[in-house]
């Protein structure tokens, strides 16, 4: 089947065409663009009976990588959410965005949608990761959509940092799993080491905003609302849930994960009461819902699997609707500050219906999807063993009631002391899409049975790895979950009037407690450390760097020498003669004297003497050519020194005592190391050198008696050619340096 790929490619084509075509069509382009997600949605519904849909093609054979796709029930659930909500978001964006910005937004959104569809249908870890990272990047681009504001940029980079490191950790985990199982195909994975599980789980936690990585999500609300509604509530943040769910048959129940989910759930439910920005309230509530899903996946029972499957669906419906509504309110009223909004039913009556319907679902009022979601979740835990988890769900339910009341009763029906005025009335594009979602939330709740039997049950089976019976029903009888539900609802209504006070006290929580502050501090610390280290390293003189270079070389040499002890013996070369001793002593003395001579010309003169001693050494050991060249070079070097010194200052002794000591230590150790290295080589006989060939053929084939010269101009003429090239370069360099006028940095004249 190539159908899946067709939709992916169609999305990319849409992204590419968005800019050129979208600019001409204006906001009506978004209607045209919906064709892609809409057709994907319709195709998804029709293919329900033919699952799983598989397609695979080789990509990088030598790495064992295929581009393989497999759409199962879990994938299809996501597929439908992505394409269905995507359709509505596209319409909504057309009404929400300024026509000038729309093409770029739709372009990035299409890429994002393709990536999400890819995640939903990936059958291969690398394929999945490919799409996963694209969602991170597009999320970065979308959060920073209004990049001219510093707040947007900061939030964008924060989200990228968290999801980016998470993505890499996920990659690490996936690679470990792939290496362990010798394949990257999910279907063939049979074993998972704890470390790999941990890495994958951390990756998913960052993406799905789990404690302690959750803080980026509320800040991501800097993105335009269509983005928040789409990425940061309905789809992208669920990618982590999706992967955890997909791999949960392999991983099995993970109590730690369940605890993390529970902590996230409680923490986010509490903090959602501390916000006044509608979108941020919803964002915290989303974090809570994600925590619930993670908790259920970690729990790992059949009932939990079913609850997860249903929660994914129910949450996407009501949260998407609420986000869009919040955005529309913002669009209409110019603010989304809950404290400044009131009497909205008069200003924007069209938005009241979606807000109320979706809020009822959020609050978990019976016959709405949210109610069933909550019931299923409560039923997933045994009262005996799962008390902490049950409490967590209750807390979130209470908080959900208060949030729902804020979103409806407070802003639509109450009046506020400082109320915002209506800017523009919402166009149909701003209220119809949320209304559709909200109504769907009602329908899914009210007609839960068929959906459960035909679909959710299979999704749950995919998540759990074995068959799951359908428990979804509106009425389960007078059981514990129902009592807990009712209790939560009642408590919520009792606490609701106190919301302003709760909010103020939560708002004043110190930043560090909310972890966002810790992240900022960490970020700052990282920056300072990096600047510190780098400046410490960089703002050093070449002398310090050379000390480091020499020192590091000696340390490495020492370590390797210690691990591979040398056996040193006296070289068995010729015995030394008296005049040679004198010569070598003389050379050594001259070299040492050079260091201490304070006079420049004196130093050069002694340097010349060293050179002469070298030449004599060469001639003593049968190297007349070397001696000749050495002495000539020596003379010319001295001449150059004399010429250059005329333009340079006198020697100064500016080294401090400590510096001298450092120099002496390093240079003596280095010199000794070199001597020892030479001894190591000299103490064993040389393997038969290739030089016998030169001795034999220099005259017969090379036509020359002076073997050294024949080597230079014939055997190894290429070396010589390189060498004279180097000489020419040096002359060019000297010439350039002389002629160029030194400019004082900055601008060129």
């Amino acid at each position: 089947m190539v159908t899946i790929e067709i939709f992916l490619i169609a999305g990319l084509i849409l992204a590419a065409l968005a800019q050129p075509i979208g600019r001409r069509l204006g906001s009506s382009f978004s209607l045209l663009a919906t064709l892609v997600p809409l057709s994907a949605f319709v195709w998804g519904i029709t293919s329900l009976q033919t699952l799983p849909i598989i397609s695979s093609r080789p990509w990088v054979p030598s790495l064992g990588l295929d581009f393989s796709l497999r759409l199962d029930h879990l994938g299809l659930l996501f597929w439908l959410l992505i394409s269905g909500i995507g359709t509505l978001i596209f319409i909504y964006a057309g009404a929400y965005m300024k026509p000038k910005e729309l093409p770029r937004l739709l372009s990035i959104l299409s890429v994002f949608m393709v990536a999400m569809l890819g995640i939903a249908s990936a059958a291969n870890a690398i394929t999945l990761f490919l799409f996963w990272e694209i969602t991170s990047i597009t999320s970065f681009l979308l959060i920073g959509f209004k990049g001219e504001y510093e707040n947007s940029r900061k939030s964008a980079v924060q989200a990228l940092a968290v999801t980016g490191i998470g993505g890499l950790i996920l990659l690490a985990g996936l690679i470990l799993l792939g290496t362990e199982n010798q394949t990257f195909e999910f279907a063939q994975w049979t074993s998972a080491s704890p470390i790999a599980i941990t890495l994958v789980a951390i990756g998913c936690m960052t993406k799905s905003a789990q404690f302690p990585f959750h803080f980026w999500l509320p800040n991501a609300m800097a993105a335009p609302t269509p983005v928040s509604a789409y990425l940061h509530s309905a789809t992208m943040v669920k990618a982590g849930i999706f992967l955890l769910a997909k791999l949960s048959p392999l991983f099995g129940p993970q109590p730690a994960l369940a605890w993390i989910g529970a902590i996230t759930l409680v923490w986010a439910s509490v903090l959602s009461l501390g916000e006044r920005d509608l979108k941020r309230i919803l964002a915290w509530s989303t974090v809570g819902a994600l925590g619930l899903m993670v908790m259920l996946i970690g729990h790992g029972t059949k009932e939990a699997a079913e609850a997860v499957a249903y929660t994914i669906l129910a949450h996407a419906l009501y949260k998407g609707a609420l986000f869009m509504t919040a955005g529309s309110i913002d669009h209409a009223m110019g603010t989304r500050d809950a404290l400044q909004l009131g009497n909205l039913r008069r200003h924007i009556p069209t938005l009241a219906l979606p807000a109320i319907l979706a809020s009822l679902s959020l609050a978990g009022i019976p016959i709405f999807a949210g109610f069933i979601k909550k019931e299923l979740a409560l039923a997933a835990f045994e009262p005996a063993t799962g008390i902490p988890f049950l409490i967590a769900i209750i807390i979130s339910a209470i908080s959900g009631i208060i949030v729902a009341m804020t979103l409806t009763h407070r802003i639509f029906f109450q009046s506020q002391p400082e109320e915002a005025e209506l800017h523009h009335a919402p166009t149909p594009g701003l209220w119809i899409p949320p209304l559709i979602l909200a109504v769907l939330g009602l329908l899914v709740g009210a007609f839960c049975l068929p959906i459960g039997e035909h679909f959710i049950q299979y999704v749950a089976a995919t998540i759990h790895g074995s068959e799951v019976k359908n428990h979804i029903a509106l009425w389960h009888g007078f059981k514990l979950p129902l009592f807990l539900s009712i209790g939560a609802i009642v408590t919520g209504f009792i606490l609701n009037p106190f919301w302003p006070r709760i909010r103020t006290s939560l708002e004043n929580l110190p930043k560090t407690v909310t972890l966002e502050g810790s992240f900022r501090a960490l970020n700052q610390l990282t920056n300072q450390t990096s600047v510190g280290i780098t400046m410490f390293y960089e703002r050093r003189s070449v002398r310090d760097h050379m000390i480091l270079n020499f020192g590091a070389f000696l340390v490495i040499l020492g370590v390797v020498a210690a691990q591979n002890p040398m056996t040193l013996a006296l070289p068995n070369g010729p015995g030394i003669l008296f005049h040679e001793v004198v010569l070598l002593l003389f050379a050594a003395l001259a070299a040492i004297v050079v260091i201490f001579i304070p006079n420049r010309l004196g130093a050069v003169a002694v340097l010349g003497i060293v050179g002469v001693a070298m030449a004599i050494t060469y001639v003593t050991f049968s190297a007349p050519d070397l001696a000749l060249t050495q002495i000539l070079i020596d003379v010319l070097t001295v001449v150059l020194f004399v010429l250059i010194f005329a333009k340079l200052p006198r020697f100064k002794d500016i080294l401090t005592k400590n510096q001298k000591l450092t120099n002496a230590t390093i240079s003596i150790v280095f010199g000794s190391a070199m001597t020892l290295l030479m001894l190591a080589v000299l103490s064993a006989p040389q393997l038969p050198s290739i030089n016998h060939y030169f001795a034999e053929t220099s005259y017969t084939l090379g036509q020359g008696l002076n073997v050294v010269n024949v080597i230079i101009v014939d055997y190894r003429a290429l070396d010589t050619m390189g060498e004279i090239t180097v000489l020419c370069l040096a002359a060019l360099g000297v010439h350039t340096l002389v002629r160029l006028k030194v400019k004082s940095g900055g601008q060129k004249q």
Binding site: V635, L640, G702, V710, I712, I724, L727, A730, A731
Partner: protein, 135 residues
């Protein structure tokens, strides 16, 4: 520095040095010497002129731009490897032939030409150094 004595010595010694340099270059294939040594001797004689008479004198004595001499030397050296291509041999493969000269037939080969290139480069470069350093 510009003592009369030094100048006088130079006048005597420099022609000798130049001849010596050519001599070293030509006999290098069989005895100590060669392009490097020869070139350096010649360069030393120019260094002497520089020290004894000054830069202008050296330039006059040199006649040609030292960098051009070096360039020509490099080109000669590089080109000396090309004849080998014509007989299907690898680059820089030596080719020898007898050349009749007034002093009798002499063996001449591409390595000798190569060495002449080296000789010119060394002279040119060293004199160029001297010239630039004495700016």
């Amino acid at each position: 520095m510009r003592s009369i004595l030094l100048q006088t010595i130079c006048r005597f010694i420099i022609p000798f040095l130049l001849v010596l340099s050519v001599f070293l270059l030509l006999r290098g294939h069989n005895e100590p010497g060669g392009g490097f040594a020869g070139g350096l001797i010649a360069a030393s004689s120019f260094a002497l002129i520089l020290l004894a008479f000054g830069k202008n004198e050296m330039k006059v004595a040199m006649r040609f731009d030292p960098k051009s001499i070096a360039g020509i030397g490099l080109v000669i050296a590089v080109l000396s490897g090309f004849p080998a291509f014509f007989i299907g041999e690898p680059y820089l493969k030596a080719i020898w032939f007898m050349l009749p000269t007034p002093l009798g037939p002499t063996k001449v080969g591409t390595p000798v030409i190569f060495d002449i290139g080296v000789y010119l480069v060394v002279i040119g470069i060293t004199v160029s150094f001297l010239e630039d350093m004495d700016e």
